[in-house]
Amino acid sequence: MTSSSNPNSQLGFGTQSVHAGEARQKPNDAITDSICCSSTYTFESTQSILDYLRENHDREEYGRYGNPNEKVVERKLAALEGAQDAIIYSSGMAAIVGLLMCKLSAGDEIIFFDQCYHRSREFCLKHLSRFGVVTHQVKTGDMDAMQAAINPKTKMIVSESPTNPHLSVIDLEAFVAIGKRTGVETLIDSTLATPYNLKPIEWGVDYVWHSATKYMGGHNDLLAGVICGSKEKLEPVRKLRGILGSINSPHNMYLLERGLKTFALRMERHNHNGQKIAEFLENHPRVEKVFYPGLASHPSHAIAKKTMKGYGGLVTFLIKDADWKQTAAIIDRCKIPRIGPSLGGVESLIEQPLVMSYFDYPPEQRAQFGIYDNMIRMAIGIEDTDDLIEDLRQALEATNEGGPSR
């Protein structure tokens, strides 16, 4: 490592988590990066502005176009993802909006696999449509349906992998092959996988999208999103971000960089806890079904095993013969995980998708999205495995039904 880390370096993932993207020798010889809050950056003279404009020096100009803290994290994430470039946004949704607003124009079409984050779907159906962009959805993992839905207007095909909350894993080889064959760009939301477990760029995917709020930040204390891809494809995306202004703040970027230092350790632990808890749940008599790619019973198990190092901390499960209130009562009895949305932090969280994300949807639509009344989604943190299992056991086995009053 010389002045800054080489993204193609052969160093281990843990070493890259700590060092990649950072200058070896930092200002004032500090071991950690400083937080640069300046909203604007000054020039020595008019001549230096002219030199900057003509020669496009790599330096700061105005805070909306970027800041030093954000650039360090962009380099680190690009290195970890094995991508040429990465662009950070103020949230995961800001990232997908920034990419799609850049790549799609009136008359263009985009196709999603139908298991996807409900806000991404909502943005495309309700808002991109206002700008004349048409969104299609096909059954998750159905490559023939995806191929059949493509027409000359199609510009992008999109999937999560694994999907939320069903944890379906996409055959990236087949997905990318469709894109290449038809000249359509591919986008993978890899939030649940993270580059520790899967690097979609290596499979030929054009864009990788993360809500970096989740495993990357890892401490439930910052919002961030990122798009990774080639320099060439991301250049106009970066320019548009400079206009739309959905940049992240230096303070957040510092916390994200700090969070990434323990990325490898945390992911190893999330993977471990996720697998152990999924196995515990599958063997529990009160549980009807568990969705976790590390289980042989999951339809995506074979493809997950082939492509992923581990399967993360998100586990979804159904309670046997339970209505939504009885299911809620189990959640309410948990003592360690707090009840709330989000995932990927050190603290475990638990929620009922029906209540948390789909309460306003009519039942038939919920059924269409595979959201059941007796479904629980647990975002497993890095607490002690036995503590979490014991807590779930008491919550599942307690006899007092309790639950919400309505």
């Binding site: 490592m1 160093l11 281990g12 993932f13 843990g14 070493t15 988590s17 700590v18 060092h19 070896r24 071991i31 950690t32 401490h219 439930n220 204390d221 916390l255 700090r258 230092k261 323990t262 490898a264 350790l265 945390r266 632990r269 360690i336 707090r338 709330g340 932090g345 050190v346 603290e347 969280l349 943190g381 890095i382 607490e383 002690d384 036995d386 503590d387 979490l388």
Partner: protein, 383 residues
């Protein structure tokens, strides 16, 4: 609940906002219910919600009656020796951080407090040094930089019998490995800048007391002297503690691997790591600490002071810097850096050679760290 679960949840209980991560309070003062009618918090030197949370977490992890968070490890140490008075005597282990040596010999002496340094690896040395005016015994649970391991149980028996306070600087051995209070210590000091914070980005110190009375006495001194931790640092410290057990487990594993590798290296004279069977206190360390020995490793380079300097300067992944316990690996030469504040004669007496190199193993891949040390040793000249 086990250590890691408690580190994440104790002290982070929900407030009225429901936030999973408690808000950061920077307020210097708090509005009171009435004149002379004090609320929970008044002036932030006396306490703040953010500091109170991290103190609660630390107390739980240490098994303490109460903990106090300071602006630095030295501020915490200064508060602890604030229990002494003019004419008091302190017995301290000589395998000791240079800053503590400086405080005891060059600041405490101004208050007519005297110090006797002993090799603390034998509890008899401590028993023999205790005088009627001795008020405190100060030892490091793994000595810096020679990695000696005192028998805290035996020393606690000595101090209990003599009616003397036992204060343990456990900076090299965080509570996920060793809890000195459980072994009979009265006070534990941590430079929380190290394994607690863990990310080289917040200075912090912590004192944990075995009894409520001792906690109250220390709190009185802390509040009166004012070297408290700030709100932002308290937040970063609390954030770091959540991954402490994971980090230390990994660092212990990597340090063991590196120590074993160093021991076989022809340019290394001697490796000091309590996890190695060759370490004189290996059995004792195993009894007290189990199967983890932390991320600090010292070794003597075959050659002279310049060879040791060349090793320290020659690394590319290890940063050449004092401090330790963080995600980034560091390397330094105690004689010229962490222990330069010792008088040279005292340094020689303690056994800190000029060829000694101290490393703090971070979270990088251990194979990457070994290849870095390999090239630095290869280019060092020497034997």
């Amino acid at each position: 609940m086990k250590f890691r679960t408690r580190a994440i949840h104790i002290g982070s209980e929900p407030d009225s906002t429901g936030a999973v991560v408690p808000p950061i309070y920077l307020s210097t003062t708090y509005v009171q219910p009435g004149p002379g009618d004090w609320g929970t918090f008044d002036y932030s030197r006396s306490g703040s919600p953010t500091r109170a949370r991290v103190e609660k977490t630390i107390a739980d992890l240490e098994g303490a009656a109460g903990s106090l968070a300071f602006a630095s490890g030295m501020a915490a140490t200064h508060c602890a020796v604030g229990l002494l008075q003019s004419g008091s005597h302190i017995v301290a282990g000589c395998d000791m951080y240079g800053g503590t040596y400086r405080l005891l010999h060059k600041i405490c002496n101004r208050n007519n407090i005297s110090v006797t340094l002993v090799h603390a690896d034998d509890a008899n040395h401590i028993a023999e040094a205790i005088r009627p005016e001795t008020k405190m015994v100060w030892v490091e649970s793994i000595g810096n930089p020679l990695m000696s391991v005192p028998d805290l149980e035996q020393i606690a028996a000595v101090t209990r019998k003599a009616g003397v306070l036992l204060a343990v600087d456990s900076t090299f051995v965080p509570p996920c490995i060793l809890r000195p209070l459980d072994l009979g210590a009265d006070i534990v000091m941590h430079s929380a800048t190290k394994y607690f914070g863990g990310h080289s980005d917040c200075l912090a110190g912590a004192l944990s007391a075995k009894t409520k009375e001792l906690h109250q006495q220390l709190y009185f001194i802390q509040n009166a002297t004012g070297s408290v931790i700030g709100g932002l640092e308290a937040f970063l410290l609390h954030r770091g503690i959540k991954t402490m057990e994971l980090r230390v487990r990994e660092q212990s594993k990597s340090a063991m691997q590196i120590a074993q590798w160093l021991e076989k290296h022809s340019k290394v004279q001697r490796v000091l790591y309590p996890g190695l069977p060759s370490h004189p206190h290996h059995q004792r360390a195993k009894r007290l600490m189990g199967d983890q020995f932390g991320g600090m490793v010292s070794f003597e380079v075959a050659g002279d002071i310049d060879d040791a300097k060349r090793v320290c300067k020659g690394t590319e992944l290890f940063g050449l810097a004092v401090s330790c316990g963080a995600v980034e690996s560091l390397i330094e030469q105690p004689a010229t850096m962490s222990h330069a504040s010792y008088d040279p004669a005292a340094r020689a007496k303690a056994g800190i050679n000029d060829t000694l190199v101290r490393i703090s193993v971070g979270l990088e891949d251990p194979e990457d760290l070994i290849s870095d040390l390999d090239q630095a040793l290869a280019n060092s000249g020497g034997a």
